[in-house]
């Protein structure tokens, strides 16, 4: 089909303009926002000081060479005359930033100097990344300190394995602009995040549902762009019916492939993270490298301690959280384990058999006998310590009286 040239030109211009407006809407840019930033506050790497961890200035950049004892690192700088609302666009550049670390922005305001605010940032990669802080409610008032914190990737990397040396090249705060907002939007759409527990249930840039501030995601924006193109074709080109349908179908197919390309890049990134974490191990040993290494060690020790127990011996475990209880049960398999919490929930209604083994892991556990006595509901349980430390203890039930 051929269209009159002016009509077609009008269609192209109208669609391009509507898509530009759509992108600006998705980026959160308003009419009054200038196209380019009017003010900037440049921060070189050398402006930051290590708060946790070890770092040194090299060629004007900050080379972070070691994490602190708790395996985290923090670099910060004091700021003067920075008003959050006036400089809401953050640009940041790192080099050699490991995929096994998560990056967090840390800041304090003069209005609430004791309240340290933290915002998870997209993985920086090797280029410059952007983040729109105007979506963050706490980014208001006078910013007196700004920094970057790094932690081992949660739920995936053991803290002691997360850190590798990297360089903080620079950071920049910019006044609001179309350019800054669109760059931040593109960083958000890059989807470079590792697998997390929620990944089997919902997938987003931060993979934590919608609890973090974010721009509309790419599939929604693509769908709206298709709708605008369809309206333009209907009004300006006079296309309708099946022809319009086929045109939109082809456009939808292209949009699908475009979104898929972003997702494929994300999928490849997730594999890269996993390669960095487990790639140096033989296949059969990879399951032994877990992010909760303390639980794994406790489970291994428990199995050694109970190696001669009959398979029917009941082992009840308690820990700081339901997650830790379930992990301990899984990692200590094939011991015959159950959750001590269920016994406590039953209020001692279920008699505890003599010979049962009780395991305490972590500091928050309720399983703390007074001497050799433990009260479970109405039951007075006599136990013998098989092993007892502050964070880990194993007891054998030797007698129960009402």
């Amino acid at each position: 089909m051929r269209f009159a040239r002016p009509r077609f030109a009008a269609f192209v211009v109208a669609v391009a303009a509507s898509w530009l407006l759509l992108v600006l809407w998705a980026a959160g840019a308003g009419w009054s926002t200038p196209p380019l930033p009017q003010a900037k506050r440049e921060l070189a790497g050398r402006d930051f000081q290590p708060v946790f961890g070890t770092a040194a200035v090299e060629d004007g950049r900050l080379r972070v060479t070691a994490a602190a004892e708790d395996q985290s690192a923090l670099q910060s700088t004091a700021l003067a005359n920075v008003v959050g609302e006036e400089l809401p666009i953050l640009r940041y550049r790192f080099e050699d930033f490991p995929r096994t670390l998560e990056l967090t922005l840390v800041f304090r305001t003069a209005e609430q100097p004791d309240d340290v605010q933290t915002i998870a940032l997209p993985w920086p990669g090797d280029g410059e990344s952007g983040f729109d802080l105007s979506r963050v409610a706490a980014w208001r008032g006078t910013i007196i300190e700004l920094g970057f914190a790094e932690f081992a990737t949660a739920q995936l990397v053991a803290p002691e394995r997360g850190f590798a040396p990297f360089t903080l090249v620079s950071a920049r705060l910019e006044s609001d602009s179309w350019l800054g907002r669109v760059r931040a939007l593109l960083t958000g759409w890059s989807l470079l995040t590792p697998w997390q527990l929620i990944s089997v249930s919902a997938i987003g840039p931060s993979e934590i549902g919608d609890s973090s501030p974010h721009a509309p995601r790419l599939p929604l924006v693509l769908a709206l762009a298709l709708g605008l193109a369809g309206i333009g074709a209907r009004i300006l080109l006079g296309v309708s019916g099946r022809r319009l349908g086929y045109g939109l179908l082809v456009a939808a197919a292209l949009a699908w492939v475009a979104a898929d390309a972003a997702w494929l890049r994300s999928l490849a990134y997730k594999r890269s993270v996993d390669r960095d974490v487990w790639g140096d191990l033989p296949l059969a040993q990879r399951q032994d490298r877990v992010f909760d290494a303390g639980l794994r060690d406790a489970a291994t020790h428990l199995k050694e301690l109970l190696v001669n127990e009959p398979a029917t011996t009941r082992v009840l475990v308690d820990a700081d959280s339901p997650h830790d209880v379930l992990r301990l049960i899984y990692l200590a398999s094939p011991l015959n384990l159950g959750a001590y919490g269920e016994l406590a929930l039953a209020g001692g209604r279920i008699p505890v058999p003599v010979g049962t083994v009780l395991v305490r892991y972590g500091d928050g556990s309720r399983l703390r006998p007074a001497g050799n006595r433990l009260r479970i509901g109405k039951q007075n349980v006599r136990v013998r310590a098989m092993e007892e430390h502050e964070g880990f203890a194993v007891y054998r039930v030797e007698g129960v009286s009402p």
Binding site: G209, R275, A346
Partner: protein, 471 residues
């Protein structure tokens, strides 16, 4: 057991059972359905055999389960061979240049993705919560202990300390997947990356089987190829394949195989397809609790389709009565899914406008505001709306949509009007239930855009004439 045998035996037993039901495959897509669908069915079939033949001693898995599965598979193929008819298959039309190009693009895009997923699976241990807390916890304990001890409630477990039993939070959950995992662990023992590779096999088999099913229902070749790409590229489907350990993709595959066999039976009046449906119906509740609900829906649809002409006017009432009977029977026999349904619906419906609004907003975000489904939930309603005059004439499309609407309505009701709404608001379950419908949703999109039997085949269907899909 040899590594190849662990993968090949499910293929042999599943495809053997499949062709024993449907007959010797004659066309290319029939082969695809028999082999890929066979692998999907064969893996849980091996799990069932583990439970029946080697529960007391898992060292017997290779000799007992492996040998029995091979025997069953061979018997199935021999039966199909002996009963094959004399008719020669129609010669398929050669692929056009455009179809070759599309096939190449789809293969490259999916092959590349498969390579990434395979590499990822082999790198990491089991990661997602429910995978290690529920589905693999039982299997791991069994594999390391060397036998299948029964899982009982906490109270029963602690009250009878001499009993060879275990307990878990999810002790009453269906055990077909853990049995199947035991099968995949029979090579090399408990090596999580190796076991989780089964999910890559499932992803591949699902895509191949879907292509075959769509082609057998006369979906054009290019549309079926596009459908395979759409399904294989969905982020949440990829996540379930790459992370491994969850049961939803297995349920999606088995449900889709059953529904497509039902569609073929309704269209062609080919009772051999009904055998497939009847074989899959009991598998669904054995895989996951909600599988019971999908099984009842599919079972009621079978009764609905089998009604004689005289009762057609009352078919909806009869279909409802069958579903009600199945639910009543589940109540009487205390089937586990009823307990779950009671748990969520027990306190009556949630009629708080604020909660309903939040749930609907969260559900909308899950469908349209996240990356889970690419553009599927935008394109599907648009296609249904814009091409309604076409697909309305196609009985196959209408049947699929009605069958799909029931579980979707149930999911909507569950996550909006019951206590389960908190799972919608946290995005922790709603997408996984929708995932179970995903192959059917993609199929609906294809059928809506290219209704395969809107013209002649629709009239044939009305007349109940056995009709063979054109190649």
């Amino acid at each position: 057991m040899n590594v190849l045998a662990v993968w090949f035996v499910p293929l042999l037993v599943g495809s053997g059972l499949w062709v024993a039901c449907t007959g010797w495959p004659r066309r290319g897509y029939d082969w695809l359905v028999a082999l890929a669908g066979g692998w999907i069915v064969g893996a849980p079939a091996c799990g069932l055999l583990v439970r029946v033949l080697a529960a007391s001693d898992l060292s017997l898995v290779p000799s007992r389960v492996g040998a029995s599965a091979v025997l069953i598979g061979l018997v199935g193929w021999i039966l199909a061979w002996r009963r094959r008819g004399p008719t020669s298959p129609p010669v398929p039309a050669p692929l056009t240049r455009g179809e070759w190009a599309l096939a190449a693009v789809v293969l490259i895009l999916l092959g590349w993705r498969g390579w990434i997923i395979a590499g990822d699976i082999l790198l990491h241990p089991t990661l997602p919560w429910d995978a290690w807390a529920i589905w693999q916890a039982k299997a791991k304990a069994w594999v390391l202990a060397g036998h299948l001890a029964p899982y009982v409630s906490f109270e029963d477990w602690l009250s009878a300390p001499s009993l060879e039993a275990r307990t878990a939070n999810a002790w009453s959950y269906p055990e077909l997947l853990p049995w199947t995992i035991v099968w995949f662990a029979s090579h090399g023992g408990w090596i999580e990356p190796w076991i989780n590779l089964a999910w890559l096999g499932l992803w591949c088999a699902l895509l191949l089987a879907q292509y075959g099913q769509w082609r057998s229902l006369a979906v054009p070749r290019f549309a079926a190829l596009a459908g395979v790409y759409l399904l294989g590229s969905l982020p949440l489907v990829n996540a379930h394949a790459a992370l491994g350990g969850y049961v939803d993709l297995w349920l999606a595959a088995l449900l889709s195989l059953g529904v497509h066999a039902w569609l073929r039976w309704r269209r062609d009046r080919d009772s051999r397809q009904l055998l497939i449906v009847l074989g899959l119906l009991p598998l669904l509740p054995l895989v996951k609790l909600e599988g019971a609900a999908w099984s009842i829906v599919l079972g009621a649809a079978c009764v609905f389709g089998a009604l004689p002409e005289g009762l057609r006017a009352k078919r909806f009432a009869i279909g409802l009565a069958v579903a009600a009977l199945a639910i009543a029977a589940s109540l009487v026999f205390g089937v586990a899914w009823i307990a779950a349904a009671r748990y969520y619906a027990g306190n009556g419906p949630t009629l708080d406008a604020g909660s309903i609004g939040q749930s609907i907003a969260a559900l909308s975000t899950a469908l349209w505001g996240q990356w889970n489904w690419n553009l599927l939930w935008f394109v599907l309603p648009a296609a249904l709306l814009c091409n309604a005059p076409q697909w309305r004439r196609d009985p196959t499309t209408r049947r699929l949509l009605v069958l799909l609407a029931i579980p979707l309505a149930l999911i909507f009701g569950l996550f909006v009007f019951t206590a389960a709404s908190r799972y919608a608001q946290s995005y922790s379950a709603v997408n996984r239930l929708l995932l179970q419908m995903t192959p059917l949703l993609v199929g609906s999109l294809l059928f809506a855009l290219w209704p395969p039997n809107a013209g002649v085949a629709g009239r044939r269907d009305q007349a109940g004439v056995a009709e063979t899909a054109s190649a």
